[in-house]
Symmetry: C3
Subunit: 137 residues, 3 copies
């Protein structure tokens, strides 16, 4: 069985937005007991990440780290879409455009402390699309 | 249905080589309407990346960024394959060895501005192999 | 056919632990000739990586590179789990939580020099779980 859907997520600008619950619910509704969920984000200035879901400071440190690693500045050739656009592409390149998570006994096989996040790299709010694909039986 | 093929790509040395068309054509020929395409590169000094396909400056900035992040230099223990080899492994580790893209209505569910790229990290031209795998129905 | 299993790996602390043989054996036992193997690590302070399996210096350079890129220090907000915890999350974010490798003729379609590694980012030994998922026919 192969099934797809599209999740639309409104982000408040630069942040990590958790989508674990949305992804898990869709898998649960499918009736699949053994399979694989794939998430694919249809953008190049936002990305996906599995990270710790317990301590909110981890998210602050993640955002600060990537900010320092790919800062805004006058040194980019591509600046026509604003100073936060090229850094956003770099952060997307360093993280993930897609994730895949096995499904066991009808549930995502995430570890206890793992959450699925959309990583918004632009400063301003955006509507983002994540394609979900489920293969299983 | 599970199907595989191997794509051989000649690169001109350090660059991003787009393979979106090749991947999309193979999916179209398969007759699969709903499924998942996986691309896997059989190398550790070249990698895969989904990035913006419109502004060529984005690619220049990407290459320059990774060059600065993992520069050549005398500080690597592994130097037997040339000064650009260890930086190539690091850039591959920071990007992707594989990508997966859902197929909806017989087409790759890429966003408007997304292209699939082979990221060649070595200075000299190389022949690279990408394995394509398609599961679907 | 969809099948899953869980691999428990004991790590000696910060290091790359190869799991290519374990993954390959499980695929071979399944009888699948064409398909896709997915590995998913159930942690956010260890990750997965496909890298060169020949020169051990490559591994030393990889570990040193990520150490320098995400060093321990007093500048993290999240420090309640020890000084090596937040750097571990960052290194996990920069590498992979999952990998997927096509299966052709019953074997993983890895390149000659590619090995599959668990990348332990914490200083102390840990028991880590990798979920394996195989889809194929």
């Amino acid at each position: 069985m192969h099934r797809t859907t599209v999740l639309a997520i409104d982000t408040p600008g630069r942040s990590l937005v958790e989508v674990t619950r949305e992804a898990g619910s869709w898998v649960a509704e499918s009736g699949v007991t053994t399979g694989l969920l794939t998430l694919f984000i249809r953008h190049t200035s936002a990305s996906l990440l599995i990270q710790e879901n317990a301590a909110p400071e981890v998210q602050d440190d993640l955002i600060a780290f990537f900010e320092k690693l790919a800062p805004e500045g006058p040194h980019y050739a591509h600046d026509s879409e604003g100073p936060d656009d090229m850094p956003a592409h770099l952060k997307a390149a360093l993280t993930q455009t897609h994730l895949a998570i096995p499904v066991i006994d009808g549930r995502l096989a995430l570890g206890t402390w793992q959450g699925i996040y959309l990583f918004e790299h632009r400063r301003r709010p955006h509507r983002r699309e994540i394609v979900l694909h489920l293969a299983g039986e």
